[in-house]
Each structure stands twice: as structure tokens, then as C-alpha cells.
Symmetry: C2
Subunit: 137 residues, 2 copies
């Protein structure tokens, strides 16, 4: 499980915002807490908006707030939006298809593992994460 930097940052941002989920967060305030460069963060915020996770408010007093309920944003949703979940739910060895009929050498060992991973990613969302325990940003 190695996510792209952009996805890592997105998750960090959303988790950070979820800590005070009612508040409107500015790019500047997020910047000061997470270690992401100004312009890069900006672009990610716009993408998060386009994907419908958050809503942006332009102009003075503007910023970003959640467009959905926290429980409706799973880790899998975020990964899927930015880079596609198939990448991780697909074959570890990069084969086209994976089935019991046409197995590779990993098949029986890997199959179970992978389904656990996907289940974990789909059921873990911004509301059932241990937000209160977060020390790290």
C-alpha cells in the first residue's frame, strides 16, 4: 500500500478538517498545520472541491467546508477519486485478470488479504477514525 503523495496529502487534509468539521477552513490555516507547499495545497483543495468532498467559498471570509457527512467519506472514496481504487484492488503482479479459474502463484495466499484491505478502506471513514487521538499532522 503505497499511495501517491497527492492522495496522502488529501487524506491528511480531510482528517485535519474533520477534527473541526463544522468550521470553515482556509487554505492558509491548513498550510500552517500540514507541511504542504502553498500552490500544491491549493490545487489539491480545488480537486477535493471538484470531487465533491468539500465546498469552497471564494472571497473574503471564504474557505472550505465539508460537502458531505463525514461518514459518507471513506478512505476508499478518496483514493478512488484521485488515483482509482482498481490500482490497489487489482492484481499485485500486474496481470489483467484475477480469478480462481486462472490463478497465479499468489492467488490463494493473496486473495483473502486483498479483500480485507478493500473492506478496510471502504468501511473506514472520516467519522469512525479516532479523530480525538490525533497528535500528528
Amino acid at each position: 500500500m503505497k499511495l501517491q503523495k497527492t492522495t496522502e496529502y488529501s487524506l491528511r487534509i480531510l482528517i485535519y478538517m474533520a477534527k473541526e468539521s463544522e468550521k470553515i477552513h482556509t487554505a492558509k490555516s491548513i498550510l500552517e498545520n500540514l507541511n504542504i507547499s502553498d500552490k500544491y495545497l491549493r490545487r489539491i483543495m480545488t480537486q477535493l472541491t471538484k470531487f465533491g468532498f468539500i465546498t469552497s467559498v471564494q472571497g473574503k471570509e471564504g474557505g472550505y467546508f465539508f460537502a458531505k457527512k463525514l461518514e459518507d467519506i471513506s478512505i476508499a472514496d478518496v483514493i478512488n477519486a484521485f488515483e482509482g481504487l482498481e490500482k490497489y484492488s487489482g492484481c499485485v503482479l500486474g496481470f489483467e485478470e484475477c480469478s480462481d479459474e486462472n490463478p497465479c502463484a499468489f492467488h490463494y495466499k493473496w486473495k483473502e488479504f486483498r479483500s480485507n484491505l478493500i473492506k478496510f478502506l471502504k468501511t473506514t471513514n472520516l467519522s469512525n477514525i479516532e479523530v480525538e487521538q490525533i497528535l500528528k499532522f
Copy 2:
């Protein structure tokens, strides 16, 4: 878990060679079975040789054969040689450190998962893979 293409290919090659582990395999014969371009495959073979997984024999009647016992080549070893295992054993969110004292929001959910993954990669090796079941290359 998304490996680099080069690592995917390396694993495929080694698994393929393990099917007839005593034989000397030529790049040409591997090429015909796995779908990797000539020059790319060649480079990977040389790397596998340098990493000590296989031994190369130059000249006519040459090719590659295993330099180690199959049980001494784990998936983790291969990943580690090509791209570093830390990439996958490290933080999903890209933080520097991961500890119980300084947890992130995923910590307790993710920790167990990750240790299972690493254990799986370290204990799965070329000898305990279901080689006889392989249909796919």
C-alpha cells in the same frame, strides 16, 4: 499495495523460473512466455543478477539460474532490492514516524493490518508459492 512495474516483472520472472528451478533459462525463453519487451527484460535480468538472486552465464549456451535456494528468496526480499520495503512498511499517510506515542488518526486501525502485510511478504517465498497451480504468466 501497488508495486512498481519493474518489481512486478521481477516477481513474475522469478516465479516463472521457479517452475523449473534447476534449468538454465535464457532471456529469449522468458520473453516468449512473459509479456515484457526484450531490452527491458534484459535490464531486469542484469539487476536480478546484481542483487544476487540469480547467476548469469554469458556466451553461447548461457542464461540464468538461481543463485540461492528458493526458500531463501521471499517476496519481501525482491521488493526490498528493487524499491525498498520501507515504502510499504512505512506510513500510509507519508508521515515520518509512526508510534503509539505519536499516533495519527489511522494508527490503531492500520497498525495491525500493516504488520500482517509485512509478515505475509516476508514469509511467502519462491518455494512455498503454489507453483504447480500456476496457469498465468
